[in-house]
C-alpha cells in the first residue's frame, strides 16, 4: 500500500500548478517595471513557490483524514488567529490583516480559507445523513460566520465572500434543496441591502462606481480599471512581447504585480496568452473536480470540491475585475499574483487535493 501511494499522485495537476507558479514569477519580474521598492518581489515569490512545492508534497503525504479528526482544533486555531489579529493587528493599508512574525508578514485570513475547507468538509460529512432543513443550513452557516465575522471586521470583504462561497458550494453539493436555495437567494439580497451602509466608504464607492460609472472620473476610482482594460486590449493576438507592454512598463497601471497581473499577461502575451492562462486554470480546476469525483470518501470529495470552487471563484472574480465586469475586489489571481500568504494558502490546497487523489478508491 505505502509503496503504491504515489502512483495516484496527479502529476498533471501538480505540473500545471508548478508551471503557473513559475510563469507567475516571470510575470512579476516584468510587472515591477523597475519600481525600486518592488525589485525584491520576484525573488521573494520564488522562495514562496519553492516552499509551496515542498508543502504540496508534505500535505499530500499526510492522510487528509487527519484534518477531519483535528477539525475542532483547526477551527479553534482559525478563530484565535483571526480574533488575535483583530485585537492586536498591526494597521497596514488602512486595515489590520497581517501578523508580523518578525521574519515575514502573514495574512491569516488567506490560510483560514484552506482551514475552513477542512472544517466545513468535516462538518458536512458528519451531518450528511441529517434532514436537509433550515437547522442543517443554519448550523453550517453559524460555523462559518463564527470565523468570518473577524475577517469582515478587519474589514476584508473579499476574503469573507470567498469563505462564504466555499460554504455555499459545499452546502450546494451536499444537497441543498431547491426551495432553500430560493430562500437563501432572497436572504442574501436583503443582507446585501442592509449591509451596504455598513461598508467602508471605499468599498461603497467601488461598488457604486462599478454600477454607475462616472464618465468624468478619469483619474479617480475608475483610473486603474480603465488602464488595465487598455493594457489588455492593446495586446492584440500575441501581445507586445515579454517586458514590452507600455501600459505596464511605463506604469500607467497600478498594482500590476498583484491584482492586475492578468492584465500584464494580456498586454504582453495577447489573446493567446490570456486564453492559455484561462485554459490552464480551467484544467487545474477540472483536475480538482475529477479528484473530487474519484475520492474514496465523501470527506475527500468535499475537500477537493470546496477547493475547486474556491479556485474557480477567485479566478473568475480576478479576471472579471481585470475586464471591468466585476467591482474592484482585491482578490489575487491564484498562483500568478504576487503575495506569499495567498500563494502558500492556494498551493497548500493543492497538497490537500493531492492527498485526496493519492488515497482515491481504486479498482483492486
Amino acid at each position: 500500500m505505502r509503496r503504491n501511494l504515489w502512483r495516484n499522485f496527479d502529476f498533471y495537476l501538480f505540473g500545471a500548478v508548478v508551471f503557473m507558479c513559475i510563469f507567475g514569477i516571470i510575470m512579476i519580474q516584468s510587472a515591477i517595471a523597475g519600481n525600486a521598492e518592488l525589485l525584491d518581489s520576484p525573488r521573494r515569490q520564488a522562495i514562496f513557490v519553492a516552499g509551496g512545492i515542498v508543502l504540496v508534497i508534505i500535505m499530500a503525504a499526510i492522510d487528509y483524514h487527519l484534518w477531519a479528526s483535528l477539525a475542532k482544533f483547526i477551527y479553534a486555531f482559525a478563530f484565535v488567529a483571526l480574533f488575535g489579529i483583530f485585537v492586536y493587528g498591526e494597521a497596514r493599508f488602512g486595515s489590520a490583516r497581517w501578523i508580523d512574525t518578525g521574519l515575514i508578514l502573514i495574512q491569516p485570513s488567506e490560510i483560514v480559507k484552506i482551514l475552513m475547507i477542512m472544517v466545513l468538509a468535516e462538518h458536512f460529512d458528519r451531518t450528511k445523513d441529517e434532514k436537509r432543513d433550515f437547522r442543517w443550513i443554519g448550523r453550517s452557516f453559524i460555523l462559518t460566520l463564527g470565523v468570518v465575522v473577524w475577517i469582515l471586521l478587519q474589514p476584508n470583504l473579499s476574503t469573507s465572500i470567498v469563505i462564504f462561497v466555499i460554504w455555499f458550494a459545499m452546502l450546494w453539493v451536499s444537497g441543498l434543496p431547491a426551495k432553500y436555495l430560493a430562500i437563501l437567494g432572497v436572504v442574501a439580497l436583503l443582507l446585501i441591502a442592509v449591509m451596504f451602509p455598513f461598508l467602508e466608504d471605499y468599498q461603497q464607492a467601488r461598488i457604486l462606481n462599478f454600477i454607475f460609472p462616472n464618465p468624468e472620473a478619469s483619474y479617480g476610482e475608475e483610473y486603474n480599471i480603465q488602464q488595465s482594460k487598455i493594457a489588455i486590449g492593446s495586446g492584440g493576438w500575441f501581445g507586445e512581447g515579454y517586458a514590452q507592454g507600455t501600459q505596464v512598463q511605463l506604469r500607467f497601471m497600478k498594482v500590476r504585480h498583484t491584482d492586475f497581473i492578468f492584465s500584464v499577461v494580456g498586454e504582453e502575451f495577447g489573446f493567446v496568452g490570456t486564453m492559455a492562462v484561462i485554459g490552464l486554470m480551467a484544467f487545474i480546476i477540472l483536475r480538482c473536480l475529477r479528484i473530487a469525483q474519484t475520492a474514496s470518501d465523501n470527506y475527500g470529495s468535499l475537500l477537493a470540491f470546496g477547493y475547486a470552487a474556491m479556485l474557480f471563484f477567485q479566478t473568475a472574480v480576478n479576471i472579471g475585475v481585470n475586464l471591468n465586469l466585476v467591482p474592484v475586489s482585491g482578490l489575487p489571481f491564484p498562483f500568478l499574483s504576487y503575495g506569499g500568504s495567498s500563494l502558500i494558502s492556494t498551493i497548500m490546497g493543492i497538497g490537500l487535493v493531492e492527498s485526496v487523489a493519492l488515497r482515491k478508491k481504486t479498482i483492486q
Binding site: V173, S234, G236, L250, I278, L286, Q293, N298, A309, F312
Partner: protein, 686 residues
C-alpha cells in the same frame, strides 16, 4: 465497499455538473470578452495606450532680436525666474511643509500666511499678481491642480533663483521656472515702433496652433514691429515626439526630434540717437508750452524723420506712448486700462493712425496741381487782400450767397505769385487758384483735379509702412460727398479743400511722404522701417532695397478731366519744372517765408512748409472751443534738407498746437540739428 454515502457517486453528480456548466459559461464569456477586447477592438486600445505614453513636446524657439540701424538692441530675449510650488510634491508632514514655507518666505519676502480665502479672492486670483501668502496660494493650487507647479513669486532676481534652486533637496516641491520674456532696452523711447507681445488671443488660437505655437506659453506681437513682423521674428518651434512614463518622465524620443528654428533678427531703419533727439524735441517743446500756458494745452504730437531717397524712417515719435517693458511678462490689467482710458490714447500710433486736417501743408497739392494744369503761371501775380467774397452755391443754377474767405494775416499780403503764395502761405492766393476768381483766375483747379494731384502725392492711400493700424486719410471729391454726406459739393468746398481744410484728412506719415516726393524730384519711395533681415548666425537674409512706388514726373498718374469734369482715359504726368518751382518756393519758406525766424542762423539750407490746421473734433467740441472764426488749430511743419540734395525730411505735428510756425517748426529745426550733428559724428568716425 464504502458504507458512507457519497454525494459524488453515480446519479448524484448533477450538482457537480452545475459547477462544470458555470465554469464553461463564465470562462467562455471571458474568452468572448477577451476576443472582443483584444482582437476586435485591439487597435483602438492600442491607440489609447499610445496616447497614454506618447507626448508631443513643443520645443520653444527663440524670437528674433530687433536692432536699430546701427546695431543697437531695441528688443531682446531675457529670462525671468519664477518661484514655483507643486503642492503634491511638498512633504506630507505638515510641520516640514510649514518649515519650508517659513524658510522660503525669508528668501522671497512673501509672508507665509496673508489674506483670507473667500470665494471672491479665489475666483479673482491670478498668479504673479496677488497679495496672498504662500500658504494661501498653495491652498488654491492644491484644490485646483495639485500636480501642476504654481507661481508663488514671479520674476525674482537671478541670485534668489539660484539660491532656491540650490535648496531643491531640502525643499521638495519648490522649484524655479525659467520663463523667456522680451526685454526692450530702449523702452518708452521706441515703444511706438517696437510694440509689445501678448498671449495668443483665443480667436487666433487655431491659426497659431496650426503653425506650431503653444497657446498659453508662446507669445505673439500685439503692436508695432512685434506684430507686423511676427512671422519673421517668431521662428518655428521644434517638436519632439517622446515616450513618457506615468509620471511624465521622458523615456526616449519616438521619432527624430525636429529642432526649433530661431526667429530672424531684424535691423530697423531707425537711428535710436535721432529717435531720442526727436522725442526730446517734441516732448520738450510740448512741455515748455504747457508750462508757459500753465495748462495742459498741447496733448499729443508726432515727429517723423525719413530719408526721401530711400524711404527709410530714421525716427518715428508718437507722443504719448507707453512703457512696453511693463508688458514684458504679462499685460497688467490696471496698466492696460489706464492706457486705454487715457484721452490722448498712448496705445494709438498718432504718426500713422491719426487722421487730421493737414491745413496749409496740403497747399503743395493745390500748388503743384495749379501749375501743372496751367491754372496760373509761376510768376503770375494775384491780388491777395485780407479777404475775398465768393459765391457759395451747390449747383450750376443755384444763385447762392456771398461768403467771405479770409487770410491768416491781418491786412492781407498785397500781391502774391506762386513763390510768395507758398512760402508765405498766402490763403487768398490758394483760394483763387483752387476755385477760380472772376477774370483774375478764370478757372480754378477744382475738386476733381485737386484730388488727382493729392493721390499722386500719396494722400488717401496707405503707405504700407510696417506698422499695424495705418489710416488712409481722406481725399474728398463731389462724388464722395454725395455718397457719404448726401449733399452736393459746393463751390466753397473747393476753396476750403485747396487749403487742406474741410473734409481733407491726412496722417502725419502721408504728409511726410508728399514732401518726400517733392524733395526727391517726384520719386515716391515707400516708407519703411525694415533695413535688413538677419538670421541667427548673422547672415543677411534680406538686404535693404529701397522700393520705388512711382515717379510722378514719369508715371502717368493724373487722370485728365474734360470740360464737364468727367474723367477721360487720358493720363498725364507732373512736369519736372513744376516740382522744381515747388522746391524753390519751399526753400523760400525758410529764407523769407513763414519759417524764416525759426530757422534763422541754421547753416544748412533747408526747405519746408508750415501748417496751422483748424479743427473741430469731439474733444474741441466738448470743450466748447468750436466758435466760428476762432476754431482751435493743430500745428504742422514739414521740412527737408539740405535743399539742393535732400537726405532727410522731417515732420512735426502738435495736436491743438495753435500755430505751425511757432510750435511745430522749432521741433523740426531741433531734429535737423541733431541729424546733421550725428552725421558729422558718424563721418568723423570713418
Amino acid at each position: 465497499m464504502n458504507k458512507s454515502k457519497n454525494f459524488f457517486g453515480a446519479g448524484k453528480n448533477w450538482r457537480i455538473k452545475v459547477l462544470y456548466i458555470l465554469i464553461l459559461l463564465i470562462f467562455g464569456f471571458y474568452g468572448f470578452r477577451l476576443f472582443t477586447l483584444q482582437i476586435i477592438d485591439g487597435e483602438e486600445y492600442k491607440a489609447q495606450a499610445d496616447e497614454n505614453r506618447i507626448s508631443n513636446i513643443s520645443v520653444q524657439t527663440e524670437r528674433g532680436i530687433i536692432y536699430d540701424r546701427n546695431g543697437i538692441v531695441l528688443a531682446k530675449n531675457a529670462a525671468a525666474y519664477n518661484v514655483m510650488i507643486t503642492p503634491a510634491d511638498l512633504p506630507g508632514d505638515e510641520g516640514a511643509t510649514q518649515e519650508i514655507f517659513r524658510q522660503l518666505s525669508e528668501v522671497i519676502g512673501i509672508p507665509v500666511s496673508r489674506g483670507e480665502l473667500t470665494d471672491e479672492v479665489v475666483t479673482t486670483f491670478s498668479p504673479c499678481n496677488t497679495d496672498l501668502g504662500i500658504e494661501q496660494i498653495v491652498e488654491i493650487a492644491d484644490t485646483n491642480a495639485p500636480y501642476t507647479p504654481m507661481e508663488i513669486k514671479c520674476d525674482v532676481d537671478k541670485e534668489v533663483a539660484m539660491l532656491v534652486e540650490s535648496k531643491s533637496e531640502e525643499w521638495p516641491g519648490v522649484t524655479i521656472e525659467v520663463e523667456p520674456i522680451r526685454e526692450y532696452p530702449t523702452g518708452e523711447l521706441t515703444s511706438e515702433i517696437i510694440g509689445f507681445l501678448g498671449p495668443i488671443p483665443e480667436s487666433m488660437e487655431e491659426y497659431y496652433t496650426e503653425l506650431g505655437f503653444v497657446a498659453g506659453r508662446d507669445k505673439v506681437g500685439y503692436a508695432g514691429i512685434e506684430a507686423t513682423m511676427q512671422d519673421t521674428l517668431a521662428g518655428k518651434n521644434g517638436l519632439r515626439v517622446v515616450e513618457e512614463d506615468v509620471a511624465g518622465k521622458v523615456i526616449r524620443d519616438v521619432e527624430p526630434p525636429v529642432e526649433p528654428e530661431a526667429g530672424l533678427n531684424i535691423k530697423l531703419t531707425i537711428d535710436t540717437r535721432l529717435q531720442q533727439a526727436a522725442k526730446a524735441a517734441l516732448v520738450g517743446n510740448i512741455k515748455w508750452w504747457n508750462r508757459w500756458f500753465n495748462d495742459v494745452r498741447f496733448t499729443n504730437g508726432v515727429v517723423i524723420a525719413m530719408n526721401p531717397k530711400t524711404g527709410e524712417i530714421l525716427a518715428l515719435v508718437s507722443y504719448p506712448t507707453y512703457e512696453n517693458n511693463r508688458m514684458a511678462r504679462y499685460i497688467p490689467a490696471y496698466y492696460y486700462q489706464q492706457l486705454s482710458a487715457d484721452p490722448n490714447r498712448p496705445l494709438f500710433n498718432h504718426a500713422i493712425s491719426a487722421e487730421h486736417p493737414p491745413g496749409s501743408v496740403y497747399k503743395i497739392v493745390t500748388a503743384i496741381g495749379a501749375l501743372n494744369e496751367g491754372v496760373v503761371t509761376p510768376y503770375q501775380s494775384l491780388v491777395t487782400p485780407y479777404s475775398i467774397f465768393i459765391t457759395e452755391k451747390y449747383s450750376q443754377n443755384d444763385t447762392g450767397y456771398q461768403r467771405e474767405f479770409v487770410d491768416w494775416k491781418a491786412g492781407g499780403h498785397g500781391q502774391a505769385n506762386f513763390f510768395k503764395g507758398l512760402s508765405q502761405s498766402v490763403d487768398v492766393y490758394f483760394y483763387k487758384i483752387s476755385g477760380g476768381y472772376g477774370d483774375e483766375v478764370k478757372e480754378g483747379l477744382g475738386p476733381w483735379r485737386m484730388s488727382e494731384y493729392a493721390k499722386a502725392l500719396g494722400y488717401g492711400a496707405l503707405t504700407g509702412i510696417e506698422l499695424p493700424g495705418e489710416a488712409e486719410g481722406l481725399v474728398p471729391n463731389p462724388t464722395w460727398k454725395r455718397i457719404n454726406l448726401s449733399e452736393a459739393w459746393s463751390t466753397g468746398d473747393t476753396y476750403i479743400a485747396g487749403m487742406g481744410q474741410g473734409y481733407v484728412l491726412a496722417t502725419p506719415l502721408q504728409i511726410l511722404v508728399s514732401y518726400a516726393i517733392v524733395a526727391n524730384d517726384g520719386v515716391y519711395m515707400k516708407p519703411t522701417l525694415i533695413r535688413e533681415i538677419i538670421d541667427s548666425d548673422g547672415n543677411v537674409v534680406k538686404e535693404f532695397t529701397p522700393t520705388k512706388v512711382w515717379d510722378v514726373t514719369k508715371d502717368p498718374l493724373i487722370t485728365v478731366y474734360d470740360d464737364n469734369d468727367l474723367p477721360t482715359d487720358e493720363k498725364k504726368t507732373i512736369e519736372p519744372w513744376v516740382i522744381d518751382m515747388t522746391q524753390q518756393a519751399l526753400r523760400m519758406t525758410v529764407t523769407e517765408g513763414t519759417a524764416m525766424t525759426i530757422f534763422q542762423g541754421f547753416e544748412i539750407p533747408t526747405s519746408g512748409k508750415t501748417g496751422t490746421a483748424e479743427y473741430c473734433d469731439d474733444i474741441a467740441q466738448g470743450k466748447g472751443l468750436c466758435d466760428r472764426g476762432t476754431w482751435p488749430a493743430h500745428a504742422w511743419y514739414v521740412g527737408y534738407g539740405p535743399s539742393d540734395d535732400p537726405e532727410i525730411v522731417i515732420i512735426a505735428f502738435v495736436y491743438n498746437g495753435t500755430e505751425g510756425s511757432s510750435v511745430a517748426a522749432p521741433i523740426v529745426r531741433e531734429v535737423f540739428e541733431a541729424y546733421f550733428a550725428l552725421k558729422e559724428i558718424d563721418e568723423g568716425k570713418q
